[in-house]
């Protein structure tokens, strides 16, 4: 078994055992998933992407896809990318690491910023990120999935480090892979519900209208998986920003279609708080707007192609990988 498969299988097992609906409900009330956090640390997942652990940066994103499948209520993207950015540039941080968008002296929309011991501030179009090791939470907040998103005062003693792959695009790619995993779970929930729910004396999965809705969902989910992988494959290349742009724009477009169709298939049941579907769809709706929505990234990609010109567009699209 290769390393990637081992990471995915181990993560799936931990999340199956430790990340259920009850935990997601508690975290929405403000709890921090301490037990799950300890499991992740105990299994060494916080070291993913560090060459010393025998893993690559691409493994981080593969792991985030699995986190997305289980709607893991922890800032895993921020922890793992934050660690990977710190390697060889900063002293290690044993506590929670998070990342937000830099806004003057503040970092905003910082996942679990209130508990973070190190916070990075990331600005668009800059390879330099700001690091604060004594961050102060000035306002607690949340996104539409009730995930903690706080405002952090970075303080006077910040450091700056320079990264080779654009940090804003790395964050967008993290959301893209989380969404790809979550999209897969919404398809699975739709298939399961359609098989179990009976109306007019038969399973609703036997109705052509439902079959076609789920076929549309499957097509979007398949496209999202491939698009998310393509962004990861561009790490370390000069196409990184353009590929992430295509990736987040395409996956964001899939989110709108999939969430709409899967909710329709679930009927009123999927609209209740009791059903777990909303833990996935609300995250999808939140994440597609974080770190640049579809329009933002479409413009980035479109400007790049317009700069190349009409007759060079195909050469840009027709890559080897």
């Amino acid at each position: 078994m290769d390393t990637r498969q081992l990471i995915e299988d181990t993560a799936s097992k931990i999340f199956t055992d430790h990340c259920d609906k009850a935990l997601l409900d508690r975290c929405e009330q403000g709890d921090f998933a301490e037990d799950l956090w300890q499991q992740i640390i105990a299994n060494g997942f916080h070291q993913l992407g560090d060459a010393a652990s025998g893993t690559t940066p691409a493994d981080i994103f593969a792991f985030l896809k699995v986190c997305g499948r289980f709607a893991v209520p922890l800032p895993m993207a921020e922890l793992l990318l934050g660690h990977s950015w710190a390697v060889a540039q900063l002293a290690p941080c044993e506590g929670l690491v998070s990342i937000g968008r830099q806004h003057g002296k503040q970092a905003i929309q910082v996942p679990w910023g209130r508990r973070a011991q190190r916070v990075f501030g990331v600005a668009e179009n800059s390879q330099v990120v700001c690091v604060a090791d004594a961050p102060v939470c000035v306002q607690e907040g949340s996104n539409m999935a009730a995930e903690a998103r706080d405002t952090i005062e970075l303080g006077p003693d910040t450091q700056q480090i320079t990264l080779s792959d654009d940090p804003f695009a790395q964050m967008a790619l993290a959301r893209t892979n989380l969404m790809a995993g979550t999209l897969q779970s919404t398809l699975d929930l739709g298939l399961q519900f359609a098989a179990e729910r009976e109306q007019f004396g038969r399973s609703i999965s036997k109705f052509q209208a439902i079959q076609h809705s789920l076929a549309v969902v499957a097509a979007e989910v398949a496209a999202a998986q491939r698009a998310a992988d393509a962004g990861v494959d561009a790490l370390g290349t000069d196409r990184f920003i353009a590929e992430v742009a295509a990736s987040k724009a395409r996956v964001g477009e899939a989110v709108g279609i999939v969430a709409e169709q899967v909710h329709q298939v679930h009927g009123a049941m999927g609209f209740t708080h009791e059903h777990r579907l909303h833990h996935f769809t609300r995250r999808l709706w939140a994440w597609r707007d974080e770190w640049g929505n579809e329009t933002h990234w479409q413009r980035v990609l479109g400007a790049r192609i317009a700069g190349l010109g009409a007759d060079q567009a195909w050469g840009f699209i027709a890559t080897r990988g």
Binding site: Q184, L187, D188, L191, A194, A195, S205, K206, Q208, I210, Q211, H212, L214, A215, V216, A218, A219, E220, V221, A222, A223, Q225, R226, A227, D229, A230, D233, E243, A245, A246, S247, A249, R250, E253, E294, T295, W297, Q298, R299, V300, L301, G302, A303, R304, I305, A306, G307, G309, A310, D311, A313, W314, F316, I317, A318, T319, R320, G321
Partner: protein, 382 residues
């Protein structure tokens, strides 16, 4: 339900081949007066013969039948380059993509030797004889009969929507060789008809885009020799369903509107508005994703895997997108570009032609409704 579209990287040989195809296209610009990426428009026998001479038709077939023994990836590189450039490929397209592989897989040795070299040299063209006036998506309901009479079959019935039957040499016809029973899929056969010599009557049907590409083909007691049955009599259903899988995942399933994109980029210029940039980027994000999915399917074909569901997913996404593309383009294209009248004219011409062809994108090769059914079966819903 995991739908797997593996990462596949084309090898360095593909770069050389791609470069070679681009040079060839640049040297043959006189064959591309109005570039159009729709694989059905542009019937140019001379261009097809030139491609055949290059070894770019029947690329994956064994050398003994005129093939190039290349990979599915090499074929994909050639086909996507030709379509993106808007080259006229319709003469040999069906023979190369579909009829040739069908004969290679199911045909008799004599049929392979007789038909494949002519296809590979770009000189022999085939049409598909599936639909009938009363048979569309419900393909098993075909009524055209072929009745055995000594060394021949006597064919009676009508085929319709037969693309290029008035220009092509042969047509592989799905016919009923035995009376229908409770098993609707039994008793069907595929039979090769010589469109120039067997006496079938071919009548062009004008389409709404102003083209005369498709036809009605009437069989009134047409006699064909028995050795024209492809493979085993009665095996038609199994053959026809495997044939349809070949035609569903290639680049022609998402590139039909590509030239509209090119002309949109041209007319928007080097400093597009934010809305124009977003439109260009949105279209590109779909192309980049679909192309990678199509390459994944080529990889599965290369490994001999069953790709029925994956190919249907690519076609479903690709056909919807190639209809969406002109819709996105028209809303951001400058209404009147006085500075650049040539680009304005090219955009309008390409847009209008593609818009008029677009209803066919989700009909040909299996309608959207049929494909969603195929996908639903793959998902275990039926």
């Amino acid at each position: 339900m995991m739908l797997q579209f593996d990462r596949v990287e084309l090898d360095s040989e593909s770069d050389a081949l791609r470069h070679h195809v681009r040079e060839f296209i640049a040297d043959n610009k006189d064959h591309l007066p109005q570039p159009n990426s729709d694989f059905v428009t542009g019937h140019d026998a001379e261009f097809s013969r030139k491609l055949g001479a290059k070894g770019w038709i029947g690329m994956t077939w064994p050398a003994q039948y005129g093939g190039g023994e290349k990979s599915n990836f090499a074929r994909l590189v050639v086909t996507e380059e030709l379509l993106a450039a808007g080259a006229p490929v319709s003469a040999h397209w069906i023979a190369d993509r579909q009829s040739g592989p069908l004969l290679l897989r199911f045909g008799t040795e004599q049929q392979r030797q007789q038909y494949l070299p002519g296809i590979a040299s770009g000189e022999s063209y085939f049409s598909i004889g599936m639909s009938e006036p009363d048979t569309g998506s419900d393909l098993a309901s075909v009524r055209t009969t072929a009745t055995a009479e000594g060394d021949a079959y006597r064919i009676n019935g009508t085929k319709i929507w037969t693309t290029d039957a008035h220009r092509n040499h042969y047509m592989i016809c799905l016919v009923r060789t035995e009376a229908a029973t409770e098993n609707r899929h039994a008793g069907l056969s595929q039979i090769i008809v010589d469109l120039k010599n067997d006496g079938a009557q071919v009548r062009p049907i004008a389409n709404m885009a102003g083209g005369e590409d498709f036809n009605e083909v009437v069989f009134d007691n047409v006699l064909v020799p028995k050795d024209r049955v492809v493979g085993e009599p009665g095996n038609g259903w199994a053959q026809v369903t495997s044939e349809l899988a070949y035609e569903r995942s290639g680049p022609e399933r998402f590139l039909s509107a590509y030239r509209v994109f090119v002309e949109l980029v041209r007319i928007c210029g080097g400093e597009p508005t934010p809305e124009q940039s977003a439109a260009i980027g949105r279209i590109a994000s779909h192309f980049m994703t679909l192309r990678r999915m199509s390459i994944s399917v080529a990889g599965m074909l290369e490994q001999g895997k069953d790709v029925v569901v994956e190919a249907a997913l690519v076609k479903e996404l690709g056909n919807n997108f190639e209809k969406l593309l002109p819709e996105i383009a028209r809303t951001v294209a400058p209404d009147l570009s006085l500075e650049n009248p040539d680009a304005q004219r090219l955009f309008r011409q390409t847009f209008e032609e593609t818009m008029l062809l677009s209803p066919s994108f989700t009909l040909r090769g299996g309608t959207r409704e049929i494909l969603r059914g195929v996908i639903a079966r793959g998902l275990g819903l039926r």
